[in-house]
């Protein structure tokens, strides 16, 4: 039905000739745009409802005094479903540490949250298929779990700024229980808000897929960053650090890179590095972490993401 609509728009309403390159491109563009926006709206709405059950206060209570390992796994999973604005990273960090969430477990949460989210997964699913989306989700969670565990094992609590431990926390537990009406209302706000923020990036990404594909020589990037170049993965990760974007913003670049013949592992590593490691986030975290801990965090994350890139380039 969607396919018929796209064909009807392209050939009857706009009046392009069937079988031409431009006609094919436009038909694909209309079809993919509608498909991905329907997918996005439905999934964001559904995830928003789930998220209404996991406000940060609840997540904090679940994670406090949890043992490492189990705690890291739970934290990485809760990172996916707990709604929080990137500017909340510092207060959340303080709140978690204050209420007895181990340092490594707190990191697992902070790593998985920006990296693994429904927008990233839907876009990967819509453009590269569910397998790529699944791979991204599983490896994203693994990176969050493993890096959190390593930070926990290293016993780096001494490099957390002292003021974190002396902060007085207000009574955050008095958030009124939400009714189903509230949940639906929140989900509606969230869906509209996210779609408003990402629609342009998504259209650009689909545009790249529909129109630019095949017009730029493929061997240019492949020559420098293709599967045969052992430095492609670390290069992609290093390039990703100063770039700061949410998952939606990076998708057009990712789509273009993959169309130009970059290996999947290299592309996924690039996407993880853009979303999970960024200069603004590092600067924000400096408020609660001393420089050595910050350096350890960035170092371990970089190594973990590069490892993911190599792993997928080797097995796929």
């Amino acid at each position: 039905m969607l396919k018929d609509f796209a064909a009807h728009m392209t050939y009857s309403v706009i009046g392009l000739a069937r079988g031409t390159a431009l006609g094919d491109a436009l038909e694909f563009f209309i079809y993919d745009t509608i498909k991905i926006f329907i997918l996005l709206a439905v999934i964001i709405y559904a995830v928003s409802i789930i998220r209404s059950f996991f406000p940060p206060e609840r997540t904090k209570a679940i994670l406090s005094n949890k043992k490492e390992f189990i705690g890291n796994i739970l934290a990485a999973l809760l990172g996916v479903v707990t709604p929080f604005c990137s500017c909340s990273a510092v207060p959340l960090f303080i709140g978690f540490i204050e209420s007895g969430v181990p340092l490594g477990v707190t990191f697992s949460f902070l790593i998985s949250s920006p990296m693994v989210n429904e927008v990233a997964l839907v876009l990967l699913w819509g453009m590269f298929g569910w397998k790529v989306a699944g791979i991204y989700m599983v490896t994203g969670l693994l990176v969050a779990i493993v890096v959190g565990m390593v930070i926990g094992k290293l016993k780096l609590e001494k490099w957390v700024e002292e003021h974190v431990y002396t902060m007085q926390i207000g009574q955050t537990g008095d958030i009124a229980a939400m009714s189903w009406k509230d949940r639906f209302e929140h989900a509606k706000w969230n869906t509209v808000d996210i779609l408003k923020k990402v629609w342009l990036y998504v259209v650009i990404a689909i545009g790249i897929g529909g129109f630019i594909h095949g017009y730029v020589p493929e061997d240019f990037l492949v020559k420098y960053a293709g599967p045969d170049n052992p430095f492609a993965v670390p290069l992609a990760v290093l390039l990703g650090v100063p770039l700061y974007s949410n998952a939606a913003g990076v998708i057009p670049i990712v789509y273009a890179l993959m169309n130009k013949g970059l290996a999947l592992g290299t592309v996924l590593a690039f996407m993880m590095s853009v979303t999970a490691l960024s200069l603004p986030e590092i600067i924000i975290l400096r408020k609660v972490l001393k420089v050595p801990l910050l350096a350890v965090f960035v170092g371990i994350m970089t190594v973990a993401i590069i490892a993911v890139g190599y792993l997928f380039n080797a097995i796929l």
Partner: protein, 79 residues
């Protein structure tokens, strides 16, 4: 009336501050609006920013950002 917008200064916090100003204007209420960026004071109310505090009471915190109508309703409920 005393309104505080809690947030270290990201796009969502700025939007919340703008909405609070707009809401006060549209409701015709006499209110002082403060933007709170001090972490100690933010933490004394909530750990999920952006937050909206009206007359010392936390009325909203975290994501998703509510629309203007909701912000008006929250402020009006304390008027």
């Amino acid at each position: 009336m005393e309104i505080k917008v809690l947030g270290p200064g990201c796009a969502n916090c700025k939007k919340m501050e703008e909405m609070a100003k707009q809401a006060v204007k549209e409701l015709g209420i006499d209110a002082k609006i403060d933007k709170i960026t001090d972490m100690r004071e933010i933490m004394s109310h909530t750990m999920s920013t952006p937050g909206l505090v009206v007359n010392g009471k936390l009325k909203y915190s975290g994501k998703p950002l509510p629309p203007l109508d909701k912000v008006k309703e929250l402020i009006k409920s304390e008027a």
